[in-house]
């Protein structure tokens, strides 16, 4: 692999000059520049970004840690993050946060060792206190998605989980449902707790109480199992609130296998607006989660932090109810 020295020799100039044409910094006579270009070409020279980073103390790289690769949600997140980063002329390094807090830490650590300019973290496992501590001690700027850290608001890109869950539940109630069951996310997830709280509070507000609930894990299968469990309990319900679209799909399948019509017998509300939901039969009533916008905001904040600019907090992102077929109106909404 050719180095800058090889180029020097072939072009008959010094390292400094080659570096100049490489970064077009400083003045260099067109003729020599041309010679250097030629030399680079014939040698197939590619600058070594490691050496460059070492010399400049800038890697031009952002690190993104995601807590999963599965699901349309994360796909969109990664795609948008990658796009926004590319537009800024930097690299995006995507790492798997794995299934545990420990592996998330490892991922972050490894990004720090690689000297990325900033880290964007989508975590499901990291407790808020530890996030706070990292924000304080880490030597690179850290932006987190979907987790609020007190005192570091500008570095947090959040979605109003609670409100969105309230609205979804409200819609169910407004549609005339009174017996509502729920399949929620894992207990150890802050966001899933927020969604659950929104659900419960809204029921409370209407003097209702949940007909049953089940802790899923966001995978389709757990929606399926959860719904079976709910059905087995023999407590009848007319609507099911689900903490994401995947689980909604699983639940609908379980309902179908039990001979229940959706939405005729039981209505199902999703969460996330997975693109597949539009094509399901019945199509899924759900609430959008603007991942793309959030990913973009996260990268942009990170980019500002890299430039040492002061940043202001980003508003909470809001959900939007998408009314499709899977929820029946038992009565007209008020």
């Amino acid at each position: 692999m050719a180095t800058i020295n090889d180029v020097c020799k072939l072009a008959g100039v010094s390292k400094a000059t080659v570096s100049r044409v490489l970064n077009n910094t400083g003045q260099v006579k067109p003729a020599t520049a041309e010679a250097v270009y030629q030399a680079m070409k014939t040698l197939g020279y590619k600058p070594n970004s490691l050496a460059r980073a070492l010399a400049t103390n800038k890697t031009n790289t952002l690190g993104l840690v995601v807590s999963a690769f599965e699901g349309a949600y994360f796909s969109s997140l990664m795609r948008q993050a990658s796009e926004t980063t590319a537009k800024s002329g930097k690299q995006l390094l995507i790492m798997d946060g794995g299934h545990s807090q420990e592996s998330e830490c490892q991922a972050i650590n490894s990004l720090v060792e690689q000297r990325v300019d900033a880290i964007i973290l989508y975590t499901r496992k990291m407790p808020p206190e530890q996030l706070k501590q990292m924000m304080q001690t880490l030597s690179v700027p850290l932006v987190v998605i979907n987790q609020m850290v007190e005192g570091f608001e500008p570095q947090c890109i959040c979605f109003d989980q609670y409100k969105a869950a309230c609205e979804a539940t409200e819609f169910l109630i407004n549609s005339g449902h009174r017996k509502i069951a729920c399949i929620t996310g894992p207990e150890d997830s802050v966001n899933s707790r927020l969604r659950l709280k929104g659900f419960h509070d809204t029921l409370d507000k209407h003097q209702l109480t949940a007909t049953g609930f089940y802790h899923g894990n966001y995978f389709t299968q757990s929606g399926y199992l959860g719904c079976q469990a709910l059905l087995d309990k023999q407590k009848p319900f007319t609507a099911l609130f689900t903490a994401n679209d995947n689980m909604a799909m699983g639940a609908i399948r379980a309902l179908h296998e039990h001979g229940r019509q959706v939405p005729g017998d039981i209505s199902v509300m999703g969460f996330d607006n997975d693109p597949a939901g539009e094509f399901l039969i019945p199509s899924l009533t759900t609430v959008t989660l603007p991942v793309e916008a959030m990913a973009q905001a996260a990268i942009e904040q990170a980019l500002l932090l890299v430039k040492d600019e002061k940043i202001s907090p980003v508003d909470l992102f809001a959900g939007e109810l998408i009314v499709r077929e899977s929820v029946d109106q038992l009565q007209k909404p008020s």
Copy 2:
């Protein structure tokens, strides 16, 4: 950010010694080692992997370029690749190949500049000749998934698209279907052409001909649109062969909107075995594509190449028919 020099001073030893304890290479007195650890800890020292890579000429990093982030298929690919790499103690750097051949080249180029130890490429856009050229000229080993390059077979991890498509079609015919339409992938994709060829050849073999076909783009929506187009043509068919599960889902939705029962009126065959297919109503008859195994094989070959070991070609991966509900047996299979 603390450097090795800071550690030296605080611990009162030389760089060499610190390096020794860092990599536990060579002999170092337990007492001094302890002192060094202490120093590292109190300084919050993290080795700079750039400097290390520069010195050793090894980055301990593999680069993966994917042609898309969307879809369960790529999620599995990335997850498995990430896992296998991690097991080997290396890093996986995932890059977006983007939507064009040019951006794929950029991604590769940038990985080369970052001096990754090897590159794994899942491409949809790169023509075979160019792949071949890269394999010859690139300074890092290159492994490609799903594309066969003559003379570089050991570096190609492939799936037998053709055979799988034949089997799927055969199943349709065996089930009594004679009027079969098809929604295939993009024309410029080698694999999608192979699937289409398998479909056509199998029909030929039975003296049948396709009732119609449509070029989709692997997104759900295009299955939906394609199926509508097919329906509008008024050429009746009893079965639909689809080049991936997403498009199958879209097609089923279109069929439903046109009042056709699946599989009662029209059977639908998917391709890929997307995990969602199991929960669809009707659940999807499809053929598995062993992405995980392929991803693992790709990483393992890459790892061997890094170690300069000679590698032998990996067998073509085979599909497996998954019989579920979406295909009706008009007659018992022979």
